[in-house]
Amino acid sequence: MIATLLAAWAATIPAFAAPFLLATVGLIINERAGVMNLGAEGIMAIAAVVSVLISLDGGGVGVALLGGVAAGLVLTAVFAVLAVLLRVDQVLAGLVTFALGIGISGYVGDGYDNQTIPGLSALPTSLFGWMPKTLAGVLDQDVLTYVAFGIAVLVWYIIEHTDLGLRLRAVGEDAPAADAAGVNVALYRLGAVLAGGVLCAVAGAHLSLVGSHLWVDGMVAGRGWIAVAMVTLARWNALRAIAAALLFGAIQALVPQLLSSGLNVPVYFIEMSPYLATLAYLLLAGMFANGADAQPVDLGRPYLREERR
């Protein structure tokens, strides 16, 4: 009985972890370049709703995904213009992006609530037939979830091991010094913000295409905010983000398991568990000053070359 429950739980973890992972990795790209984007939640919402609308209109999964990403990218561009080009306070620009995303997604999704779409389903079970059952259950995921984990590894490699990543880190750690070394600070930040926005949008599309197969207003439900906190938990490292995402995915995956198990726990308490986990992490991080040294030095600091300061 317990073993079956655990196996069922484990099999749902990757799909719950993938949106966290995509958004967290996207935000890591942003923050390693020195830009804090608090608009992730809004970008995810826009991408989620647009993907559903395209699916309802008869578009295939690929088209729906691309459409969702494009919509998320447009919203990210608003943030990029504010935060990078106009050097508006990044916290404010992020909150504006968040509010815009939530507002617009609610507006365009109005009337399309709870209409199911085919979405993206897991790979054929037959592919995994030769494996032990539990392992097969964990590995039998959809393509987008696999892509999420692949992207995390790829982003880690690019940031830590290529010249492109080196310049990105330099921009985030010390923009004036990077500028002096001939790195175009605004260009790198712009690129990082847009790339990060794309990943946040994919995360949002994953929620509706893989997770729920429908749109409900408010369905992102704070995952974008949790991703912001997970960047710190992962200490700005995309590989550690995989571990963090699996942890939060596991907690999130507990919710349906607990609800269906018939345990007498208040449902709101169960649904609160991811946020309680975030709170617990932040408390621990505060007590042990975890991650403070890994934070990019110029995070959140707009850069304008001046002749004399």
Binding site: A177, A178, A180
Partner: protein, 500 residues
């Protein structure tokens, strides 16, 4: 063979001119010292050469061909590299990463291994042994400097500009660095050494140029023919002597501000205070001359109580100074900071709040918890009238005042209440002539009223004009004070450059 020729370079920042027709000629194979006081324009001129600033007027030629660099990258392309006083390194990255970041494109490295090999070859040639994996912000300053020099050379520089390379180094490190600089020049490169130190000029340079107030006053003279006296005179100029107005001798109160063996460790890019003794009497202006960045800011912070000491005592009127800044203020200490808007006034807050804030300390607040706007405005109006602050109103944000009027406001605030010791750090810097006179008159009046005034200034003319006694600060030390009448200007200039 001429490497660089700069002629008639002019450059202004806003309405403030920094260069007024400066010239500079650099030959291949030489170490060329560029000497001058702070603000003389040395760094500005070299920043023009290195593409960080563009000149408003004048011509620039490299290897005889006219050039104009809009960006540092364009100057680097022409083989010009500058090592700044404040290093342009990315602290959290490693040595090798910093080198790749700065040079990979220009040197054409494809892989990390290529970069590592190039770095190690140059390191062996120069005798540097830096760990390529070390995090830069955990290395000693002298190693960071070596890294900067390597970066510039690996990027292909043949013309090297070093901005005060010895300022951050110990004596031994400085000698090693200067020796290296000579080696580089003998190898066919051209090196500019921006410096304040006579040792760098007389011991390690082939030729020397001196700048004063935006102009070149000694243009590429052989260093061999120079003496400490001729250089320091060129640097600080000759002022009309004997114009020092005899101050009315008033009663001096000894020991109003006494500092004994005061020491404090250096912070990043800072200077350590080394056993400073100071005795400022009530009723005198004590002038502390010296080139900025030699510990003045640290001394001021120690005196007002915001810097941790490693030893020594500060006494006000014979008793130990209170430990906190508030306590010292209540004991009669007042402070006019060099950076008015940073350490002094709240630019975004209205004038009335700026004036009223210090009076909320201690028991002086008119009521215990509430602050009446009328009371603040009344204080502000009185200050505006007394100190002739032009263009002011009680509800005006202070940042909208001009420099001179903001400084008058600063004085009005600091002079209020019982003042016994006044520290004035560059109180007239950046002010127009009328504001300068007003501020100086207030300082004199304070001294005449019995206040012990410590005037810290980089402007030697001002020190000589206002002070009763003069000392020089250099490298975190202070020379013995002398009565102003006995002071020899040239000797002060030498002390500013040499004191160790």
């Amino acid at each position: 063979m001429t490497a660089v020729r700069l002629s008639g370079i002019e450059k202004s920042f806003g309405s403030r001119p920094a260069l007024l027709g400066a010239n500079f000629v650099l030959e291949w194979g030489e170490v060329h010292a560029l000497l001058g006081e702070n603000g003389a324009g040395k760094s500005t001129l070299m920043n023009v050469l290195a593409g960080f600033y563009t000149a408003d007027a004048g011509t620039l030629a490299v290897d005889g061909a006219p050039a104009r660099f809009e960006t540092p990258a364009a100057a680097a392309e022409a083989g010009i590299g500058m090592v700044h006083q404040h290093f342009k390194l990315v602290g959290p990255l490693s040595v090798l990463e910093n080198i790749r970041l700065a040079c990979a494109k220009r040197a054409g490295w494809k892989t990390k291994a290529e970069a590592l090999a190039a770095m190690q070859t140059l390191g062996a040639e120069l005798g540097f042994h830096l760990n390529p994996q070390a995090r830069v912000d955990e290395m000693a300053v002298s190693d960071q400097q070596k890294l900067e020099i390597m970066k510039v050379l690996l990027a292909g520089a043949r013309i090297l500009i070093l901005d005060e390379p010895t300022a951050v180094l110990t004596e031994e490190e400085a000698k090693a660095a200067l020796g290296l600089v000579r080696t580089l020049a003998r190898g066919g490169r051209a090196v500019v050494l921006i410096t304040h130190k006579l040792r760098d000029v007389l011991g390690f340079s082939d030729r020397v140029s001196v700048m004063r107030a935006g102009r070149t006053v000694i243009d590429a003279a052989p260093a061999a023919g120079m003496t400490a006296a001729s250089l320091s005179e060129a640097m600080v100029g000759t002022a009309p002597q004997g114009e020092i107005a005899p101050r009315t001798a008033h009663r001096l109160k000894p020991d109003m501000l006494r500092v004994m063996k005061l020491s404090a460790p250096a912070s990043a890019h800072g200077v350590a205070l080394r056993e400073i003794d100071l005795d400022v009497k009530g009723g005198e202006i004590f002038g502390l001359a010296g080139i900025g960045g030699n510990g003045q800011a640290e001394l001021v912070e120690a005196l007002i109580g915001i810097r941790q000491l490693s030893g020594g005592d500060i006494l006000f009127d014979g008793v130990d100074a209170p430990p906190t800044p508030e306590g010292r203020r209540e004991a009669g200490l007042r402070y006019i900071p060099a950076d008015r808007m940073g350490m002094g006034l709240f630019g975004e807050l209205p004038l009335a709040v700026n004036i009223a804030l210090p009076r909320l300390l201690g028991e002086k607040a008119e009521r215990k918890w509430l602050v009446r706007k009328g009371w603040m405005n009344q204080l502000a109006r009185a200050a505006i009238a007394d100190y002739e602050v032009a263009g002011a109103a009680p509800d005006l944000p202070v940042r909208l005042l001009s420099g001179g009027n903001a400084q008058k406001l600063m004085l009005a605030r600091e002079f209020a209440g019982e003042m016994s010791v006044l520290i004035a750090h560059s109180p007239t810097r950046g002010l127009d002539i009328r504001a300068v006179q007003a501020v100086q008159a207030r300082l004199r009046a304070a001294a005449e009223a019995g206040v012990a005034v410590l005037l810290i200034s980089e402007d030697l003319d001002e020190i000589m004009e206002l002070s009763d006694r003069v000392a020089v600060m250099s490298h975190g030390r202070i020379s013995p004070a002398e009565p102003v009448a006995q002071v020899d200007r040239a000797r002060i200039g030498r002390l500013m450059l040499e004191l160790h």
